[in-house]
């Protein structure tokens, strides 16, 4: 696949907190591995087929046990990997150590690194030891911006060669938007696969990942009994559906608030109560916002809520519950009554805000389960492979994951669950086409 011979970086350049943590990191990666059978399947194939042989990959991802299994998959495929942290607060130092010691990965990540260090780490990953990457893997678009965006101030680390650059992957909506804007300005000279724009992603991560983990965060923060309570879910997109289904599954009565009439009708026909947010404000015990929009719960809602109401946000940004309005409506400053639970008193009634309105599944629980990340990271691994193997299919720009790859992920996931499915016979294929 690649012209240069593969050189395993036996002594990789790296900057991690403590190499002696490698053993603990191994255990952690191993636990995650038991939850990530799909990535494991890909890893086994990669080890046989070596599709990434000799390629340099620069990755800027959350340095966690799940990422560790992704990186090992890339290594199994033959790649050399340089890894920096997408966010210094999410770095697991023991995992970073294990990847250096056991896998020869060039990790540049320390938990809690200051901004200067953090940027230096990104530069180190992007430069791939000076030669520049064949491929990038982004979680926010940082690496490709560093490599390609001429409008950014020059990196203090100096320019990085992009001669060998074949393309990159991007994990987040925000990053994909940023790279599309770069493309509009003519700066995106390679193809990028937006791995979160896949049907499997929507199903597995949005609905089931968010659904379970938002409830999990809610319970860890409050330990309230949901059976018999009224949970108001604001927003009935793919994430909101997951939250509503799980809240009902815990025995709660669920009220859905939604501005889109078709979604609202779907919710109603699925047996949920549907009401405007002001009405729901008077009836709910627990409120979960998951709209992707801002100022969804504001002063007029807070003023109608009952004593003891709980407010949580499961949307990406902390703008859904208006913190300004909440502070303004309150009789005094907030008091932390449990870790991650602040009490505001509004008109004599106690309202409890969870995790300061930040996304509750990350702030109060552990974010997506490993088996959800399993699919996201399979997506990453297959996308990287496609950018090499099918490089002629992708023009410069941001692309959705091809449908066939999407289906392949679902198939691998099913297989990991021990499930086989049927295929259409040729006659059925023909019959189906006649009607579509």
């Amino acid at each position: 696949m690649a012209t240069s011979a593969r050189r395993s970086p036996h002594r990789p350049d790296h900057d991690v907190a403590d190499r002696s943590l490698a053993g603990a990191g191994e255990d952690r990666i191993d636990w995650a591995d038991a939850q990530m059978p799909v990535v494991a399947q890909v890893r086994e194939r990669f080890a046989r087929e070596r599709p990434l042989d000799g390629l340099r990959i620069a990755a800027c991802l959350h340095v966690t046990a799940e990422t560790g299994n992704l990186v090992r998959t890339l290594r199994a495929g033959g790649a050399d990997v340089w890894l920096a942290a997408a966010n210094p607060l999410s770095t697991q130092d023991d995992v970073a150590a294990a990847l250096v010691v056991a896998d020869g990965v060039a990790v540049h990540a320390r938990r809690g690194a200051d901004r200067g260090t953090y940027l230096r780490h990104q530069h180190a990953a992007a430069s791939c030891g000076g030669a520049g990457p064949h491929l990038t893997m982004d979680d926010g678009g940082d690496l490709l911006a560093l490599l390609l965006d001429r409008d950014l101030p020059a990196s203090p680390g100096g320019p990085i060669p992009t001669t060998d650059l074949l393309g990159g992957t991007e994990e987040t909506t925000t990053g994909a938007l940023r790279l599309r804007l770069l493309a509009e300005r003519g700066g995106l000279t390679v193809p990028v696969l937006a791995v979160n724009e896949a049907d499997t992603h929507r199903v597995v991560e949005n609905r089931h990942g968010t659904g379970q983990s938002a409830l999990d965060g809610l319970l860890r923060a409050t330990n309230v009994l949901l059976a018999g309570r009224t949970v108001v879910v604001v927003g009935y997109g793919s994430c909101g559906r997951g939250v509503a289904a799980r809240a009902r599954g815990m025995g709660a009565a669920v009220i859905v608030c939604e501005v889109d009439p078709i979604r609202a009708l779907e919710a109603k026909l699925e047996g949920f109560d549907v009401a405007p947010a002001l009405e729901a404000a008077e009836r709910g015990d627990v409120f979960v916002t998951v709209t992707g929009n801002r100022d969804v719960l504001t002063r007029e809602h807070f003023e109608r809520m009952r004593d003891g109401a709980i407010l949580a946000n499961a949307g990406h940004f902390d703008v859904e519950i208006s913190l300004r309005d909440l502070a303004a409506a309150a009789d005094g400053p907030a008091v932390e009554v449990r870790p991650l639970v602040e009490r505001y008193v509004v008109g004599g009634r106690r309202l409890h805000l969870l995790a300061g309105g930040r996304v509750v599944n990350l702030a109060a629980a552990e974010g997506y389960p490993a088996s959800v990340m399993d699919l996201s990271f399979t997506n990453q691994a297959l996308a990287v492979e496609a950018l090499v193997v099918d490089r002629d299919r992708f023009a410069p720009g941001v692309h959705r994951v091809p449908p066939a790859m999407d289906a392949e992920m679902a198939r691998l996931k099913l297989s990991s669950l021990g499930i086989a499915i049927d295929a259409l016979s040729p006659e059925q294929e023909r019959y189906g086409r006649a009607w579509s």
Copy 2:
């Protein structure tokens, strides 16, 4: 709106079985009306706004109580209506009589009419008393074919003027396909709105209409207890999801068979068992096919099924369960053991086929509930109005229902259920756009 003055056909041309049935027809239409609040809302607005004033509408629909309420809505909007039957077996003679007597509708329909009469009726409706229609409403594309398809043999009733023709609506997938083929051949000179291609239609009719009525047909035909049984749902499209959800709701264990891996994964993550059909054949008590494809259950499946298995089809055509294979596998001829239940003995085990493999919700129950037809017929009424009011927006050809009309239907349906929803504030509109 229309150039000609409105002439209500006080003594409409008509051909119905028995005008004295009108009273019974009124009761039936009234019962349906109580289930069709959305059409009623549209009817009230039409009565105020008269958007169809003086227009001639030719309709070829199932002549049922639900259709009666649609026709009354068109009349309230100011139209003269000529109505023929889409299928002579579905005609309710009392409804036909009531529409003639009470509403002055030119009904040409008799239950059980022979083919000659049936075609004469269609021609009478299409000709609108000789002047030809402004608008057509089809359930299979017959009227527009009659009016526009030059490749068909000339109608014995002679050519019909199409000078005033503005467009038409079509209710079925089959009809839309037929009209698209006509368009490819250059014959479709007016716009057609395919009302079944709406999101509300998919949600309300496919999922909930099919889901409930397929189970209803199954219970009416067999009276089996579903709790504790294993129901195999073959196909997990929008109809199959409905069937699976309802079967689970009756206490059954559900196995989903599906060839699309993404759909199969969705089913699995929603807690259903997922298996290949051959494996499911050995484990199921009740089988419901709903794939839209053919030969879904064949000899190899029948030979694995357990004693007492029940076979039903909820797909449109009776090709999903292979009747040829079933007869071939059986030890002898089928015996009807209950109305609509035939027993085949395969290898000593009793298999029970429902309704000869025809669509079980129509053959063994009453098809979609009136409140489902409520939305479908609202769709029809709004589509007719749009073809008049927004006539400049639609080029000749078959069109999906516009998204705004789709949303409007959902809004009306919610309103009929007593449900209000919120709207985005201008700031939220802007914020949302920034991310989409």
Copy 3:
């Protein structure tokens, strides 16, 4: 087992409508047999063990296909059977014919028999050809009353010997009450097993039998879409729980009304809405009473209901919906708008009463599924056997089914579903006893 030699009545005394219907009756019994695997298991064992050899059984039951399979089981066990109808309206004449022709059962039953004939039939069954029965099987207590109640007027057929009488079974609550009153008066000289007082009966028949069939009756009568509707279930006993669970399973929002606070709390914690009936009256679309009490919905409720409301009763007697109040509240007489659907107009709003307030699963559907009767009739067969084999265990009086027999029925039912379960080890038995 029995003292007299077994004489199979080759030419049984009988009185049925038409012996030539026997073939149709066979098909019907066979279909029911496919749904009654538990009775079939018992029948196979009875055929091997012949526990009823030479005994005379007098049975007064609904003469249906399900009963046919019970009678065949008794025959397989060696008994001679005389069968009369518990209700002449439920008699299936073809089944009656088949039991005479194929099984040599002395059937005395004709559909629609007048009262004189009906009583003569009971007497014929009770007398067992003049010798009197060893065992009776009652569905309302008629046979034992005829045999033992000295306070009743003398039967015109003359006294029947009770010398050989060992005991009887009773299927209904009403019959058990009647026999307990007889016992209080000192008239019950033999043991009676009340087969409906079993845990399996409560679970299978009340919850699942009533739950499904009440919904079935509702749909057959109205064909309303339940998804998105609000169903009010009045009464949350074992039947009401079944109705509520199934209504939710069809996509309805469910409001439970209940006077017992513990049951109400259970409903609330299971996610149902709970409200007083007057409040529910204003919010419901469909009302199902299942309290076992009277005047549950009265004028004050009717006057609050919404246009289009549907009223159904799933309780045993037609006293739960006050028909007197409904007539009094209505603006005029009721009009039948569909078979089994009467429209009352109350304050301008249309209320629809199903089946005249009679139990909707029997009046509008087919009552309990055969697989529910499977368990009830297994209960009958095992009870008859116990009265013979364990005759020393039962004193005169009405008894609950022994727990071990109850467990045995559940075990047989599970086995018929292909399900095995574990048993406690001796150590676990000991450990469990230490804590109970």
Copy 4:
């Protein structure tokens, strides 16, 4: 009520870790109070009616925020309270401080106290400042044993007067058993109300409390995605039903294992898969034991389990999963791969034991939610009141909670949820009695 004048112990005798923690304790008690509206209702009534005026109560309970609200309720009713810890590991030192400082409660409890201190604390509570208690509240039977059991070694603190003793309450099954044994030996001279033997307790605490909190513990310990997984629930009593319902509610397929055929049949008819544990061992991803018995999962099960299986216990004692067998079956010692997750490798497959097999909702989460404790502690408060107000109704011995008190609790709980229910009319009362 009481003869002595009420003396609030302004400077109560006490032994707590740090009185300066009182402020933090207040916040914690206040958060719990927002979850305990039923206790709050009782407290308000107690403050008006003062049913415990001047009484001395000795309580040996878990010293937590929820208990804080119970104790405040007793204080509001007029009692002086001495409080010791039922278990030194569960003591919240800040709550202990707040109860001393703000409420004048004589708290004797320190987190982590050694055995000597712990016993001294119990003695201090039991002696009530030397006068002995009017009432005791036990969580394991310690106080009454200390006061009444002559077979125990004499307390080093000396004998305590029992002259004024009216009775006591007991919270646990173990404690009730212990006190019944004491009664058999003739030592129990006062009535004891076993508050956990109430229907509301079974519904709220067993089903819903255990159901949610067992899942919560599972997720906190593992963060596995339950959707699409197979969860095996061993035991289908009131706790097992809760676990099964919640696991299904999270999207899991659920297999129930049960030795009681009636319970197994119930599970099957509710749509669960039912199988013997050995078969389930091969199919499950997650195993939750909740039988109340021992050695439920043993070597033969472990040897069949799949790679990655997770083992949790939700029963009271850590004997359900055989730790001895697990260690014996494993290839080597267990490794902790996450906090509370130990990995055993059995035949090359990784099995993960949670919390060492201890009850997972307490060991990995926070035990019952406060709103569950709300009902348990309402039970305690009402039981204490009944022992005073209705003292003539209770003979010495251990008693179930009276049904009327049980119903009253449910009514208060409903009221706290804002729910009213109907009452039977006198006619309905009569009608109901006629049939029971």
